[in-house]
């Protein structure tokens, strides 16, 4: 009676200790299903709203191939690829974030730690300002520079037969700082139009994405996401610590490398499509974990949450400031930052440390 708050929050865990795992899993499944429904609803809203509003019936008809000319064109050629990109990039970033947070055992871990974000941004900015390249070349430059940066960070952290998580983070920060200086230098030297285009890219935007971006993204993620889900049990074992994982038969260093590679590859294709979108990789796994309340990395929940988060943000950034078009990365940064602050304050009000 003296501590009513914990008992109210999770009565079953205290009262029926033997059935804990069953209950937790059921909650996780229900939460994932509800999240998926919410993501679907947001996606449909994304197809219906816009400068040329459509009814839900028109959208469904257009998707089924029975729509009239202009409505079908708007839905299938303009809005659907953008929505697909948002869902796929969000899901990818959610999974990559969950993997990095689990690998580094740090709730603030994200693909940033390996320098990927700044690497890809530097590549894109260089392509825009130095070369004057267009969209697909910018994506290619971002991809190449991001992967090269990740490889350099990994190699520089490799020492004495392994990569320590801590050293990886430190080297990642060092390289990121150098790249940030390089980006700032280019931004001050470039013409104002190019510099602003580069700034939009750095913020992360889904504006004007068509099937030529969506198709390769979906194909790449169709390979990479199942690979991540297959590796998920090993990730749970790695969370126990290197020694315990080794004792349980996991080849620690090789598993860590494989998981890092998968997560970096997912981040790479997502970033090539939409730029380095802030906060989805960081927030999606955390939010999903709180909603599903399952232990372990929780990759599926993180994927669905990421998709919902990015599609919702893209919808909001399109409609809230219309006719001005703000990049979606600004919206995810603002929502994610405020949400995280609120979440932390709420949690700390009830708990100690």
């Amino acid at each position: 009676m003296s501590a009513p708050a914990p008992a109210l929050r999770a009565p079953a865990i205290r009262a029926f200790g033997g059935r804990v795992s069953v209950r937790v899993h059921r909650r996780g499944a229900i939460a994932c299903a509800l999240l998926a429904l919410a993501a679907l609803a947001t996606a449909l809203a994304g197809l219906a709203f816009g400068d040329y509003p459509l009814s839900l019936g028109e959208v469904v008809n257009a998707l089924a191939g029975r729509g009239d000319g202009s409505g079908a064109f708007i839905v299938n050629e303009l809005r659907l690829p953008r929505v697909v990109c948002a869902l796929a990039v969000g899901a990818g970033l959610g999974v990559a974030g969950a993997i990095f947070q689990s690998l580094t055992r740090n709730p603030l871990g994200s693909p940033d730690v390996i320098g990927f974000t700044y690497g890809s941004a530097a590549g894109a900015v260089a392509m825009i300002i130095v070369v004057g390249a267009q969209q697909s070349a910018v994506s290619a430059g971002a991809l190449a520079a991001g992967l090269a940066t990740a490889a350099i960070v990994y190699l520089l952290s490799y020492r004495g037969g392994g990569v320590q998580g801590y050293r990886l983070v430190l080297v990642g920060i060092g390289i990121s700082m150098m790249l940030l200086a390089f980006i700032n230098y280019l931004l001050t030297r470039g013409r104002i139009e190019e510099a602003q285009e580069a700034a939009v890219w750095i913020a992360g935007s889904l504006d004007g994405r068509g099937w030529e971006q969506a198709t390769p993204l979906v194909i790449a993620l169709a390979v990479l996401l199942p690979a991540a889900f297959l590796l998920s049990p090993r990730l749970s074992l790695l969370e126990l610590g290197d020694d315990a994982a080794t004792a349980l038969g996991v080849r620690v260093e090789r598993s860590r490398l494989t998981l890092t590679l998968v997560a970096v590859a997912i981040t790479a294709v997502a970033t090539a499509t939409a730029g380095p979108i802030a906060f989805v990789a960081l927030a999606a796994p955390q939010v999903a974990r709180r909603l599903t309340r399952t232990p372990g990395p929780g990759l599926l929940g993180a994927a669905i949450m990421g998709a919902q988060l990015l599609q919702g943000s893209d919808l909001a950034s399109q409609r809230l400031f219309a006719p001005d078009q703000l990049p979606v990365g600004i919206m995810t940064g603002a929502i994610g930052g405020i949400y995280l602050a609120w979440l932390l304050a709420r949690e700390w009000r009830w708990r100690r440390a």
Partner: protein, 346 residues
């Protein structure tokens, strides 16, 4: 033999102090040399005897005017900002017991940047002397918000909480900065020049505006040295030894805000100095926070002034901004330290 082991720690401590003092004197000498170099080297090289003459006897020649009106304020600003960033970084890493802490972490830089962009874009402030107050206010508000979020509930503002709250606030403020700069091209143009971090084009007025805050921050930081040593042992042990943890954290946060706010207001966000320098200081001086603070206070302006001089030389007749050079010089050193040795723990 049997009696010697218990006494060994005492002589070693005593022997270390003179060499640490010697190192400090050496650092001071390097700093003075660099200040001389900063006065003499530039687009137009001026030999040292002319510099000394201009400083001591004045004069109206071109070179005397360049030295007095351009290079002296610039060098003093570099010195002041360097001292501030070094102390702030050392304080922050000691307070949060986190070797990765840097002023960016508590939202200070993001707050200053958002306020500057707001001043340019919404209020139409066009001059550098106008930005300074906004940058300062932004830094102060951001760190108060971070501290307030971190201090919610019973646990108090623990290091992890401050870092998490700082990340959240930084993300939201960065989004605000991006939104304001992307909606208006002129704002973006001014902001990109400020956000690099440069010592050039700042006059003596800028230094005069931020000097009171810098002095207050420095005095506060130096007064905290002993209390930081107690905090380094952990909250419980520190409290048992009589340290007032909460008060030290609050004063430390105040000092960091004064130092970083003033530094960022004066020359724009400089990353990396506050992060790297305390690591080097700890590698030289060991765990005593009073020595770490003293070394950080000298090593940071050395890094900043050296970077500024290098930036003037490499791209003649143009310049590379100091914020860019510090990152390009500091990062390889930092990575080499990280690779070579175990990180000196706090």
């Amino acid at each position: 033999m049997a009696a010697s082991p218990p006494t060994t720690p005492v002589p070693r401590l005593r022997a270390a102090a003179p060499s640490r003092a010697l190192g400090l004197a050496l650092a001071l000498a390097v700093l003075v040399l660099l200040m001389g170099a900063s006065l003499a080297i530039g687009t137009r090289s001026i030999d040292l005897s002319t510099v000394v003459h201009a400083l001591l006897h004045g004069g109206d020649g071109d070179e005397a005017v360049i030295v007095r009106d351009l290079r002296v304020p610039r060098t003093l600003l570099g010195l002041a900002v360097g001292v501030a960033l070094g102390l702030a970084g050392a304080l922050m890493q000691a307070l949060t017991r986190n070797p990765l802490a840097d002023p960016g972490l508590l939202g200070v830089n993001a707050g200053a940047a958002a306020a500057v962009v707001f001043a340019i874009g919404v209020l139409g402030v066009g001059s550098l002397t106008g930005y300074v107050w906004f940058a300062f206010a932004g830094a102060a508000v951001a760190s108060v918000v971070v501290y307030a979020i971190g201090a919610v509930g019973r646990g108090g503002a623990s290091p992890v909480r401050l870092a998490l709250a700082g990340t959240a606030v930084t993300a939201a403020l960065t989004a605000l900065t991006q939104a304001l700069t992307l909606l208006d091209r002129d704002t973006f143009d001014q902001w990109r020049a400020w956000s690099v971090g440069a010592l050039s084009g700042r006059d003596a007025d800028t230094l005069g505006q931020v000097a009171p805050f810098l002095v207050a921050g420095v005095l506060l930081a130096l007064a905290l040295g002993r209390a930081l040593n107690a905090i380094a042992l952990g909250d419980e042990t520190g409290r048992a030894l009589g340290a007032r943890i909460g008060r030290t954290r609050l004063l430390g946060a105040l000092s960091i805000t004064l130092l970083c706010g003033a530094a960022t207001a004066a020359i724009g966000p400089i990353f990396f100095v506050g992060l790297t320098v305390p690591h080097v200081a700890r590698a030289i001086a060991g765990a005593d926070q009073r020595w770490v603070l003293a070394y950080s206070m000298l090593l940071a302006p050395i890094l900043l002034l050296a970077a500024d001089v290098v930036g003037r030389v490499v791209a003649r007749p143009g310049e590379v901004q100091v914020g860019i050079v510090t990152a390009l010089l500091g990062a390889p050193v930092f990575i080499a330290i990280v690779r070579r040795r175990r990180i000196a723990h706090l």
